[in-house]
Symmetry: D2
């Protein structure tokens, strides 16, 4: 069961630029993280973009949707900044059916020793293998339907919304 | 949905004893790992034992089975050494029905910077939430039915056995 | 031989703010770093300020000089941002005699797994114990007289200036 | 001022063998540690042996002495297990004059996240640059003359012996 991983940036992949003292994007850490986790799944990684999700445009979201659509794999993991993760999930859900698509990210960059990234990656890769078609967000060890979740910015965690 | 975590030791929780220069067990790292992963699941941790799985006896296995049986939670995660993880899984499967029980562990101790433990914990906690009742082993990003898996000792990874 | 450590901030002590996604200062990591290094020196830590050295004012520098002056210890370590470390060293050298004062810092924050901070701290604490009175900068494993060094910003390292 | 680094093993360089679950020696981490510390000193690394210092023989010590003797560099750092570091220091001191030789090591392996190795390396490399000829042990942020120090095994730290 091949899994497609689409990398879009986010805190997950932020690094420290020692020349400027700022955080920035260089390359994704996904391959290194999968090696560390000794993951033996059949995954194909594609870096779609490397952006802060606060700066993600509609065109960026359209590109992510397009990548989900054309992927032959039925199971897709999207790494994404947490600030607008639910917006991208909604855009994907509006356009794609018949695939299991899980978005995940991190609150602390992987390059920091104290990142939640490896935990979230293990979690998201597991949910994407067993959940039925649909769009989900995997954070904090939980999995939420795309339209039943929001980021609580004061607590930097995701929480379930009541059913409509 | 409360989840019971039963800690039994294994590589997961091995630490370096600076006085003797040997690896040993002190306390479990489970709480620290859940905090790092920013896990917000309702989990209850119980340390059943802290042993190397190569030294696990039939009495130890009986104690693990007993803890699975008396746990009111229907979803149980067992952290365990990798060397005899399949044996304990078999003992649990022979005695327990109607619960989802996932065993996981690590190839490298969590206290080492390069551990696979956090990835495996995120993975196992996710599988245990969504799989139907049964006994499973979650390692290498995969989830195996307890009677369809073995540890490949040359590669230090778990692999699926052909269906009987 | 007691050693005074004056903390002024700098990359050394920057942390990741998970709510804003920015780097910021909370508390100094000096005590934790000394514990990790198993340092058994008689040190007294005083946090004078927590600022980015690019934002350090003349008043800030005067405060650092004043702390060096009034410290009864003859051996003083100052942790400092690298960008204006040489300016503060010059201010200290213009005002203080009869004490061994070593400035050090880091190119990567300590909270990142890949920091040079622990190496630099071990280095600076060693130089400050054995060098004669004067003002020095300890970076990159080397120790420079305060008026014979500059930061090479393209390489993010310190280099010796030719003797005048 | 070139510095010779002689690697002999010790806790410094122990790694976790994921197949056996034991600690063992593979390659030295010295180059990686110097890179992490952004060390810009002119150092030449030579791996003389990779052994646990409890298993070090007289022949091993003779080989270390011989390497110190034939090294053209006048400043030499020896990485060494802590358990018999003072014995090797005595052997070197009995045979070599006119060179500054500093032994150092670690209480926790570098491959563990919590190692004191990087701190000790920064410290020892600094002492070796400025101390007069002689044989020293650099541990716990301090530098001891070879005949004035012992390892306190209950506390896993080095302490000064009273002058004879």
């Amino acid at each position: 069961m091949p899994i497609r991983i689409l990398v879009t940036g986010g805190t997950f992949d932020k690094e420290y630029n020692e020349l400027s003292g700022q955080l920035y994007f260089k390359d994704t850490h996904l391959s290194e993280m999968l090696r560390l986790g000794r993951c033996r799944l059949d995954v194909k990684i594609r870096t779609v973009m490397m952006v802060d999700s606060l700066e993600m445009t509609d065109a960026d979201r359209a590109l992510i949707v397009q990548n989900c659509a054309k992927s032959p794999e039925k199971r897709i993991l999207v790494t994404h900044g947490t600030d607008t993760m639910t917006e991208t999930a909604a855009a994907v859900a509006a356009a794609i059916t018949g695939k299991t698509i899980v978005l995940t990210g991190a609150i602390i960059p992987y390059a920091f020793g104290s990142s939640d990234g490896l935990f979230n990656l293990g979690s998201a890769l597991s949910f994407v293998q067993v959940l039925p078609p649909g769009v989900y967000i995997a954070m904090n060890g939980k999995c939420f339907a795309w339209d039943r979740v929001r980021k609580n910015r004061e607590r930097a965690e995701f929480e379930e919304l009541p059913e409509k």
